[in-house]
């Protein structure tokens, strides 16, 4: 029976095959489609999502300190609060002009005006989406969730490099952060795990 499995279409074997197809498609929908979608968007930059932490040395064959001073790119920063997020959230540096390859640090400002401790999570998005793959963040507050005590404020740091290979027609990049309230979503253990404050944030924490 086993050796003829692929040719045998008697009813029990057929049912096993069709059932396996059903399970396969279910697994495909839950475990393969979402990662595939994320991968596809990472490669193409389609949904404007920027990559994770960028390590300069990973880029082979390029002088990691090579700066293309012949080009100037305007980088604009936008901040949006998602739905009911009550924090004050805005870029301190609204626009910077950078050369491709040049490491730049800018800051956002966040303030929790409520009387309770909250956790925020910023989600980045880059326009034009074709620039997403060329916009590298070496440090970013968006890599971690951001806890703020009642009334506390913080300056949130972002350091980035625009890739020197960025297409010639890109003159302006807009980076948008949407701040989400994830206080309710994170269980307690999650909060303690995820709230390792990155160095760049510890430096600028005020109040």
């Amino acid at each position: 029976m086993i050796k003829n499995f692929w040719k045998d279409n008697s009813t029990p074997v057929l049912c096993v095959k069709l059932g396996a197809t059903v399970i396969g498609m279910f697994i495909f929908a839950i475990f393969i489609m979402p990662p595939l979608y994320t991968l596809f968007c990472d490669i193409t930059g389609l949904n404007g999502k920027t990559g994770g932490q960028y390590n300069i040395e990973t880029k082979k064959g390029v002088d990691s300190f090579g700066v293309d001073t012949s080009r100037e790119i305007k980088v604009q920063f936008i901040a949006t609060n998602n739905e009911t997020m009550p924090w004050e959230f805005k870029p301190i540096d609204k626009t910077v002009i950078v050369h491709p390859g040049e490491a730049t640090v800018i800051k956002y400002y966040a303030h929790n005006p409520t009387d309770r401790a909250m956790i925020g999570q910023a989600v980045p998005s880059v326009v034009p989406y074709k620039a997403a793959g060329y916009f590298h963040k070496t440090e970013c507050f968006c890599f971690n969730s951001q806890p703020l005590q009642a009334g506390e404020s913080a300056e949130l740091g972002l350091s980035f490099i625009v890739d020197i290979d960025i297409p010639k027609y890109v003159k302006t990049i807009t980076l948008s952060y949407t701040l989400f309230d994830i206080t309710g979503n994170s269980e307690e253990n999650k909060i303690s795990q995820n709230t390792v404050v990155p160095e760049v944030l510890q430096l600028v924490s005020i109040n």
């Binding site: 197809t21 979402p34 979608y37 949904n47 989406y129």
Partner: protein, 516 residues
């Protein structure tokens, strides 16, 4: 061997007979059709005049959602499965379905699924109000608490459809009478075989997408939640990867029914049988690569817009082959216009109109104007109502004499056809105009300058509803007091189902029939 049906209610509870189960599927789907129709009439009553008069906007949203869900999963799909149960074993010369016990189960979980889904209307926070496409985050972050019941109901419906289609595939592949080769099968059997494969492929994806919703809502995952690194657009991709094949699941068996009826009343064999088979298979294949045409406005890249636009237009080719084959079958035939034929001809004409508005919607740059307007509503009702509903009605009139042994009243049938035909066009044709003028779907109020057309639509909807009550009356009066039908019923119809007596005995083809 020659057992008759058991006595009493347990006959229906325990039955493994394909005819009993087919009848239960058909009655269940008709009940759901009337329920979904009532929901539709609530919508049309509210839209009779601009402004809010009858229902709260929140309840209006629940009505649009439930109308879609009940019609798609409760009316159209079970009706086709019911017809498959009744006709496929008789068409291929089999004594019953391949897996009769599973057949019983796949029917009997359905009433529970719909009881659960309809019960959400009475729960705190109301029923599903996010549209039948249940886009996240409307159906996750902003959903009423009853959404969990909705998710489980969809799981059960999916399980029912999957079991039904495994059964149908096993029956068609393994239970055919000797000599009934694949290319001798009636087209209804062919279209159902292909539909069953579509169901096997995409119902698990639907189960997957609602499972991801369930996990996002209750278990802290973030598949569709941007705050946690997910993406709401992913929902739309996964949903429509299921959803587009789903719309063909609701139309391919209809092609099969019409391909059985038109040759009978044109008194000519079906033109281009093998091209019909290949066209059906091509449509099924294409259905997997066009899903994003539902999402032209989410911000696809130009290359994606173009790919999905051209792939969508490509579907018009095999569909055109089918339409031309039906027209050619009728060409120079000795046509008569009994009720099933009237419904079938209306199917060919109106489905083609729906196909043309589909082509308009496929044009990506133009779709930005049409998206989420009543033009879309007009389009998919023109393909689904004359497509699925008319073909099912045609099939019921065509095979009812074989099922119950009595002939329906031809005059009553024709009156019902014309009521339904006029009602349908009066309801949905004006929606093209208000849609092109910018009236949005799923909104309980509208600008006053759409008032006249909406009033016409609402009047048509009530006429169409009355026509369905007449269908119910016709079917019941045929069963109760119709004249005795002959075994052949029609003039020299093709197919094994006409070689058995009317009404079809409880057990048919216990020994395989000879195949010419």
């Amino acid at each position: 061997m020659a057992h008759g049906p058991a006595k009493g209610f347990s006959r229906w509870l325990y039955t493994t007979n394909h005819k009993d189960i087919g009848s239960m599927y058909l009655w269940f789907s008709f009940a759901m059709f009337l329920l979904g129709g009532v929901f539709a009439l609530v919508i049309r009553a509210e839209l009779f005049e601009p402004g809010l008069q009858i229902v709260e906007p929140g309840f209006f949203n629940q009505m649009t959602t439930m109308h879609g869900l009940v019609m798609v999963f409760g009316a159209v799909m079970p009706a086709f499965v019911g017809l498959a149960n009744w006709m496929i074993p008789m068409m291929v010369g089999a004594p019953d379905m391949a897996l009769p016990r599973m057949n019983n189960w796949s029917f009997w979980i359905l009433p529970f699924a719909f009881a659960m889904m309809v019960a959400t209307l009475f729960m705190e926070g109301g029923g599903p109000n996010f549209g039948w496409t249940f886009y996240a985050p409307l159906s996750t972050t902003y959903a009423p608490p009853s959404v969990t019941f909705f998710i489980f109901a969809v799981h059960i419906m999916g399980a029912s459809s999957i079991m039904g289609s495994i059964n149908i595939i096993a029956t068609i592949l393994n239970m055919r009478a000797p000599g009934m080769t694949l290319m001798k099968m009636p087209l209804f059997v062919w279209t159902w075989l292909i539909t069953a494969y579509l169901l096997i492929a995409v119902m698990p994806v639907l189960a997957g997408v609602v499972t991801m919703m369930l996990m996002d809502i209750h278990f802290g995952t973030s598949f569709f939640d941007a705050a946690g690194g997910g993406d709401p657009v992913l929902f739309q991709h996964v949903f429509w990867f299921f959803g587009h094949p789903e719309v063909y699941i609701m139309i391919l068996p209809a092609f099969g029914i019409v391909s059985a009826i038109i040759p009978t009343f044109a008194r000519k064999p079906l033109f281009g049988y093998s091209s019909m088979v290949y066209a059906t298979a091509s449509i099924a294949f294409l259905s997997f690569i066009v899903w994003a045409h539902h999402m032209f406005t989410v911000g696809l890249p130009i290359a994606g817009e173009l790919f999905f636009m051209y792939a969508t237009m490509l579907i018009a080719v095999p569909t055109g082959v089918k339409v031309f084959n039906w027209v050619t079958t009728m060409f120079k035939g000795s046509m008569t216009f009994e009720t099933p034929m009237l419904f079938s001809i209306a199917f060919v004409i109106l489905f083609t109109i729906g196909g043309f508005s589909g082509l308009m919607l496929a044009i990506a740059p133009a779709d930005f104007q049409y998206h989420d307007t009543y033009f879309v509503v007009a389009h998919f009702h023109y393909v689904l109502v004359p497509g699925a509903i008319f073909s099912i009605t045609a099939g019921v009139y065509y095979w009812l004499p074989k099922w119950c042994g009595n002939m329906y009243n031809e005059t009553m049938g024709k009156v019902q056809f014309w009521l339904a035909f006029i009602g349908l066009n009066v309801t949905f044709f004006p929606m093209h105009f208000v849609g092109l003028a910018g009236m949005q779907r799923r909104v309980p109020d509208y600008n006053q300058f759409f008032a006249d057309f909406n009033m016409i639509s609402s009047m048509g909807a009530f006429l169409f509803g009355a026509a369905q009550l007449m269908l119910l009356y016709n079917v019941i009066s045929t069963i109760v007091s119709g004249k005795k039908a002959s075994d052949e019923v029609w003039e020299d119809p093709e197919g094994l189902e006409w070689t058995v007596p009317s009404p079809a005995p409880y057990h048919t083809f216990s020994t395989p029939p000879p195949i010419k």
